[in-house]
Structure formats: structure tokens, C-alpha cells
Amino acid sequence: MTGEGFLTKNISGITHTLESVIVAEDLCRAPGLLQRLDPRAKVVTFALFIVTVGLARSFWPLSAIFALILAVTAASRISMGFFLKRIFLFIPIFTLVIAIPALFVTPGSPLVTMASKVIITEQGARTAGLLFLRVTDSMSFGVLLILTTRWTSVLAALRWLRMPSLLVDILGMTYRYIFLLLHSTNSMFLARRSRTLGSFSSNENRRWLTRALGTTMVKSRHLSEDVYLAMLSRGYQGETRVLNDFKMEYRDFLWVAFALVAVSVAIWSNRL
């Protein structure tokens, strides 16, 4: 592989990650249905939905939940094309590829036969479809939560759910410093790219890459010292406090009630 191709791939990968999060932060401010809901209500009901998707045993509840996801997405003023691209682009497609052999190897009653041999079994088709729908549904809820909720609100909701404050603090700071480190490594790749003429061997590229990682690690170490001292000088004593001004309103209760009914119906349908 040429040096340029490998560097370009890394630069575009990192830039894409940064961009996708910035887009998400913009969407959080749009005046849509989900954006207006209390983050606690969203975190709890979405978790319920994800568990329900996990428990579902047939196509109907999974398809109905996907229809619900699309409706809620539209009501939250998220562009449908953007949303579908975001959820389908990688993992569900990967899942389909994984599920294809299952069509043929799962034992069961024949669905498609050719030359008196069972090619595709009914069970195989069902398991592939279930896997695909389940993965898509579960992913959608995670994506919707992040697209419509500010990260600080998600953290505050986690704190309200009694997640240890140490973990919540770490999560919050990690998110902040991921951007710093991504920017800094992106600059390293860009600097390298701008100095590169012609191509390098994979070996040379790997060596450069491990040195870049090593340097980033040393930088992280220094950074953590500086940040710690900065925190200390602002009076940090190992505890943080969050301003929690959440208030459940009428529409939040309405949403929770709706979610509970939807979840109960979906779970009840497992018994049919």
C-alpha cells in the first residue's frame, strides 16, 4: 500500500468521526419531539425499548418498532436520508453478510428447493431476518438518543440513575479529550502527508504509526498531569457536583406512558 493511501484513509476516518459528532450536536438543538423530552425519560424508555427488541421472538413486533422509530425520527426533524444512512451504513450490512450462510446451513423445513435438495430453509430465512431487524432496531435507539440529547444531559441522566459519579466524570472528560486527541493525531497524519512524496512500504508505515501512537501516549500522560493540576487549582477534591434542573412535564409523562404501552404490547405479542 502506498504511504499516501494509508495516510488519507486515516485522515478521512478521523475527520469523518469528528464531523459526525458535530452534526449530532447541531441536531440536539432542533425543536423536535425527542429533543424536547426530558433526558431521563428518554434514557429509561430507550433502554426499555432495547430490552424489548432483545426479547422479541418474531418479525411483527420488530417491524412495528422499526416503524415507530421512523415515525419518531420524522417527528424529531431529523432528515430521513441522514438517519437511514447513519444506522444502515455499517453494522446492519455487515450483519446481512454474516447472516447469509445461515440461510443455507440452518436445519429445518424447506423454503426453496432446487434439484430435490433443500437450498434455503424456513428457519434459516427467519433467523437471518430476525438478526437483521434486531440489530437495526437496537442500533436505531442508541443513535436516536445521541442525535437528540446533549451529551451533558445524557451524563446528568446517568447520574440521576445512580451511576457512580466517578464513572460519569470519567465518561464526560473522556468525551472532551477524545476530540483533542483526534485533532492532534489528525494533524500528525496531515503533517506526514504533506511531507510525503511517492510511496512507502507497509513496514515503514507501520513503524511510523507506532511511533505516532507512542508520542500520543506520552502526550496523553503529560496532558493528564496538566489537567489534574488545573483541576486541583480550581478546588477539585475528588467529587463533582452537577446542576440538575430537569423537570418532568406533561409531555414527558405522556411519552413514558406511550412507551410503556408499546413495550407491553410488544412483549405480550411474544405469547401469540
Binding site: M1, L171, M217
Partner: protein, 343 residues
């Protein structure tokens, strides 16, 4: 190796959360002891580093790229418990923001990549590097082999988790409800991919970074490796790592027992006979036996309960063992025991 939601049953996910919980608990305690108020900034920034490392595309022969996890590398530089937390946080952000790994499967992914991987990797690294000099090639070799073993162990565990699904969770007509491939497919598939591609990438990255740090910043390796606060506790970490590995094997064993139980149950359920060859067939592939309708859910719940109970017992024993070891090795305890002897 990031397992998305939908591949594992909620019961498996719950079990794996329960299995990971004691490790997180111990890790938080250990890290707080050493880092005190530094815990948050150091772990946060190294979790961010771990995230960035997972984003790096490493060129591999054949023209494509792969990425490393870096759990063993983090364990070498920060110590294994800090690595457990750092990688867990990085995985959490990956799952939340990028849908890379699910939210129900988060506990499972953490067990594989943030617990098994760094603990096994660090154990092997410690065995190989022992008390060698900071710049010794033994440390580089330890990082290479340790990280390789770590990722292989993790992928094997992931293969077992995925492979258990079709046998344990299927519809009445035999349709697998979650990941469709049994152990005989899932485990080799995971292992081969990681033995051939992901393992070498992990080894090259970890070995390369450790070699660079040895040359340019030996203090970083030193701080992680020779920290007196850790003492001989690496034996305990190793034991934990091995136990962590053994846990899913236990799952596997109880899975087979469950299969045998099913056949016994056939007889008592008034079937009166077991068709010839069914017994052997059943053991290898429980799925094609849909029409006898045994009380499957009860068996699954019982199996999960016993697995959780087993894990809890193991975790408790390890914890007790750990306390004993800590008491023996910590200076305060030594002073205390000396006082006991003199007094």
C-alpha cells in the same frame, strides 16, 4: 470483536454484565487506592487515548487495514486495573456515539476486550518480562506475545458467547433467535480471524509502541511495570485472568449438561422411547428437536442462574484470596504482623 445488540440474548447479556461487575468494582477500588484524586483525569485521558488508538488504521499485507484494541498496551503502561476501566470507558463511548458494539452487549464486550484481553495480556507480559531491565528486549517480546495472547483469548471467549446462542435460544420450530451459528462454527471463525489478522496487528502495535517508549520515554514503562504498589500482586491478576477465561468454559460445560438433561427429560415426559441416534444427535445440535416442546425457558433460566451463582462464588473466592495477598504484601500489614509477633 465489538458484538452489536441483537447477536446475543438478553439473558446472556445480563449474565455477562453480572460477570463484569465484580471486575469493575475491584478495578475502581484498586485504581482509587493508587491514583486517589488523580483517578478521573488520568483514566479519562487514557480512555480517550484508547479510543483514538482503536481508530487508527494499521496497514496490513494485502493492501487493506485493520485496527488494534490496545488493551494490553494500556495494561503495560498504566497497570491492568486502570486498563480495565480505561478500555471499558472507551468501549462505552464507541457504543453510545458510533453504534460500535451494542448497549445490551456492552457488558459482554467489556468482558472480552476490557477484562479478558488486558488481564491475560498483562499476565503473559509479566511472565516473559519478569524483572528485566526497562530497556530489555524481553519487555518488547512480552508486549508482542502478551498482546497476541490477550486478543486471541478475548476472541475465543467472544466465539463461545456467540456460539452458545443457537443451542440455548431458539423458537419452537428450531429457528435460532439470535446469532445463528453454533460453537463449532463461531469459535473457529472468531479464532481464525484473530490468529491471522487482528492478532498480528495487535502484536505489532503493542510491540512497536513499547519499543518506542523503551527508547524514547523509559519512565512510562517503568512507572507501570515496577510500581512498588503493585508488588507481587501480578500473580493475583494472572489468576483472575485465567479464571475469567475459565468462566465461559464453565458456561459451556453446563450447556452440555443441559443438553443431556433434555434427553433424560424426553423419557420422563411420556415419550416412552428415545429414537435411535437421537441421543448423540441431540448433544451436538439441540436445535433440530423442536416438536417435543420441553420446558425450555425453565432450563435456560436455571442454567443462567447457576452460571451467575458460579461466577459470584468464583469472584468472591478471588476477592478473598486477593485480600489475603494484599494483607501479606502491603507494608502496613507487615508492620502490623510484626507488632503482633513482638507483642
Amino acid at each position: 470483536m465489538h458484538i452489536p445488540d441483537g447477536y446475543l440474548s438478553p439473558a446472556t447479556c445480563g449474565t455477562m454484565y453480572a460477570v463484569s461487575l465484580p471486575f469493575w468494582f475491584v478495578a475502581i477500588r484498586k485504581v482509587k487506592q493508587v491514583l486517589t484524586t488523580r483517578t478521573v483525569p488520568i483514566l479519562a485521558i487514557f480512555a480517550a487515548f484508547s479510543f483514538v488508538l482503536m481508530m487508527f488504521n494499521v496497514p496490513i499485507p494485502g493492501g487493506t487495514t485493520a485496527h488494534a484494541v490496545g488493551a494490553t498496551l494500556l495494561a503495560i503502561v498504566l497497570g491492568p486495573w486502570a486498563a480495565v476501566l480505561g478500555v471499558s470507558v472507551a468501549l462505552g463511548i464507541q457504543a453510545l456515539f458510533f453504534g460500535d458494539g451494542g448497549l445490551l452487549t456492552f457488558g459482554t464486550n467489556c468482558f472480552n476486550m476490557a477484562i479478558v484481553m488486558p488481564l491475560v495480556g498483562y499476565f503473559v507480559y509479566k511472565v516473559i518480562s519478569a524483572n528485566s531491565d526497562v530497556k530489555s528486549p524481553r519487555r518488547t517480546l512480552g508486549a508482542v506475545i502478551g498482546s497476541y495472547m490477550g486478543i486471541i483469548a478475548a476472541s475465543g471467549v467472544a466465539g463461545i458467547e456467540l456460539g452458545l446462542q443457537p443451542g440455548l435460544f431458539h423458537a419452537v420450530n428450531g429457528t435460532p433467535l439470535y446469532a445463528p451459528y453454533g460453537l463449532s462454527v463461531a469459535v473457529p471463525a472468531m479464532l481464525i480471524a484473530h490468529l491471522a489478522v487482528a492478532g498480528p496487528v495487535e502484536a505489532v502495535v503493542s510491540g512497536g509502541v513499547v519499543a518506542y517508549l523503551q527508547r524514547a520515554h523509559p519512565s512510562l514503562i517503568k512507572a507501570g511495570a515496577v510500581g512498588t504498589k503493585e508488588g507481587k500482586l501480578w500473580i493475583l491478576w494472572g489468576t483472575l485472568g485465567v479464571l475469567a477465561l475459565a468462566a465461559p468454559v464453565g458456561l459451556l460445560a453446563s450447556g452440555t449438561a443441559w443438553g443431556e438433561w433434555g434427553v433424560d427429560e424426553l423419557q420422563t415426559m411420556g415419550l416412552g422411547f428415545i429414537p435411535k441416534g437421537l441421543q448423540t444427535l441431540y448433544r451436538w445440535w439441540p436445535a433440530p428437536l423442536p416438536d417435543y416442546g420441553f420446558p425450555r425457558m425453565g432450563a435456560v433460566i436455571g442454567y443462567i442462574m447457576s452460571a451467575v451463582l458460579g461466577m459470584a462464588v468464583i469472584a468472591f473466592l478471588v476477592w478473598m484470596l486477593g485480600r489475603r495477598l494484599v494483607r501479606r504484601t502491603s507494608p502496613a500489614a507487615q508492620v502490623a504482623s510484626q507488632q503482633e509477633h513482638t507483642g
